[in-house]
């Protein structure tokens, strides 16, 4: 049975802003499905429709065969949701945030305390349970929120950018917990991300989404197989040569593209890189340069993304995270 079944889903916001158009896809029960796409692709919009926060303009969506816009109350009992924003309540403690969720999800009083204690333990937050969320780091908030969303053992867990802004250790912890939930409880996970590594590390199925449209769906391996282009990265011994002459020579190989990342670093994308490597090294040699270092790798999700959307994924760094946190802080201060 499919956990999620979406057919011809569209959303047009006020002001004629088309956020998603004609999305159709299914998510098998027990899988980890990820939407991979850049800012403004429509990821959050799709998730908000699925978690009953918003009605679609057209099309329909079902979760375990229950229609999302017709029976929102039934849907809310079987899903968990972590919004993209840091959404734990800053003026309550970690424990209180969990208690609030436990009560709203009607977890029987007898089980509440144990369940909350388990979650705090699992998310490595037990020692800070009684501190206000306002004193948590971003990563701690995120972990707490995921704990909050799984408190009632939902059948589908929706995570909108679960690891945005986490440091490597925090990210690893969240990944571990997501895998564990999926594996131990058979929970279906639907997440969005604009991190390639995350999609690759977690997802059994990936949907590439850009400008509101789904351009490819498949497992990471399947998607990469459709590319067939690998990358050769060459560090040259000097920069005393004509870049354009070398580029012209290399791009004459069918299907190849090349660019200088740096005067001495050449990146070439070519189908079956192993077959072409000797030819390329020969070309470089005829230009009177030698090779200091060489790296050869198969297709990545980045390549997949480039092929299907014609654009690069923006790399989100710590800067973006900072702005989210600052926004949140200023909101708090003003209140």
């Amino acid at each position: 049975m499919n956990a999620i079944d979406v057919q011809h889903l569209s959303k047009i916001y006020r002001g004629d802003i088309k956020a998603i158009s004609d999305l159709s896809f299914t998510v098998g029960a027990g899988s980890v499905f990820g939407f991979l796409g850049p800012n403004g692709a429509g990821k959050s919009t799709a998730i908000k429709i699925l978690v009953t926060l918003m009605n679609p303009t057209a099309g329909d969506a079902r979760i375990f065969d229950i229609d999302v816009s017709q029976k929102p109350k039934e849907i809310r009992r079987i899903i968990g949701y972590v919004p993209q924003e840091l959404s734990a309540d800053g003026s309550l403690t970690g424990y209180e945030n969990l208690l609030l969720s436990a009560k709203l999800y009607e977890i029987p009083p007898k089980e509440r305390e144990q369940r909350i204690a388990d979650i705090l333990e699992m998310m490595e937050l037990a020692s800070r349970a009684d501190s206000l969320i306002d004193t948590y780091s971003g990563g701690m908030v995120r972990r707490l929120e995921i704990g909050q969303a799984m408190l009632h053992h939902p059948r589908v867990l929706f995570l909108d950018e679960p690891t945005i802004g986490l440091d490597p250790a925090g990210r690893a912890l969240v990944w571990r917990q997501i895998r564990k939930l999926n594996h131990d409880e058979g929970m279906t996970i639907f997440l969005t991300t604009h991190y390639m590594e995350e999609a690759e590390a977690l997802c059994t199925q990936i949907g590439i989404i850009d400008r509101g449209q789904l351009s490819a769906v498949g497992s990471p391996t399947q998607l990469k197989e459709t590319i067939g282009v690998g990358t050769i990265r060459i560090v040259l011994s000097s920069s005393q040569f004509s870049q354009s002459t070398l580029l012209d020579m290399i791009t004459s190989i069918p299907g190849a593209s090349a660019l200088f990342q740096d005067p001495q670093i050449l990146e070439i994308k070519v189908p079956n890189p192993a077959e072409h490597i000797t030819e390329i090294l020969q070309l470089i040699k005829t230009n009177g340069i030698s090779v200091n270092d060489l790296e050869l790798r198969g297709p990545t999700l980045e390549d997949v993304f480039l092929k299907y959307t014609g654009s690069h994924l923006e790399v989100a760094g710590p800067k973006e995270w900072k702005s989210i946190k600052q926004r949140r802080r200023s909101v708090r201060r003003a209140s």
Binding site: L53, D89, L92, L100, L104, Y105, E106
Partner: protein, 256 residues
Amino acid sequence: MTLWQSIKKTSTIFEFEVRKLRHDPFEVFVRLIQPTLWLVIFGTVFTRYRVIDTGNISYLAFLTPGVMAQSLMFTAIFYGIAITWDKDSGILAKLMVTPTGRGSIVLGKGMSAGVRGLLQAVVIILLALALGVSFVFSPLNILLVIFVIVLAATCFACLSIVFASLLRRRERFMGVIQLITMPLFFASNALYPVSVMPVPLQYVTLVNPLYYVVDCLRSLLITNDLSNIPLHLGILLVFTILFVFAGMYGLKRLMQ
């Protein structure tokens, strides 16, 4: 969803709003300053010079319920701003995907404004006692006063939620709320009896919830003339129910 579940959910929402207050009582204290100034400065000056004729009760006694109603309105009417913050930070979204009725969310949050109103009322009464005002302290009256305060705060907080969801942006919200609070306040019997107002304005008071709040509080606390209570309490209840439903619609609209 059963009625029992709805009541439980409402009280949960209420409980956690109150917990937030407890973690940060600063705002509650600040909100006590204004009514104190009204009573101590405005009240005593106007009483001394007998500016306003309030019949056989002193102006200070007349004013006290008015200040109570005014301070609870001024606090509750800004409640909507908390909703817009909760909306922007995703807190509201997370609340709304739980199996909790919109009504419970609006009512629980609205009622929490009543707690502030009650705290203000206690302080105002103590202060007025010190200034020589005497109150009717019968158990029934006190229970009804508590009910009126919570109802009134819920009423204005829900009205505020409606405005927040219509106006969305905080700047616009603040502007509009500031625009409407003054007329609500002056077209009421908080500072002077309705009979001294121009006749057209007297009709306006009939659709002003604050008028009914002040009238109920004054009857219950000062005059002990309870003849108008059932009608006025009923009208206040209708206003509140109306605003709760409008607030429920507003929440839904806010998420779109």
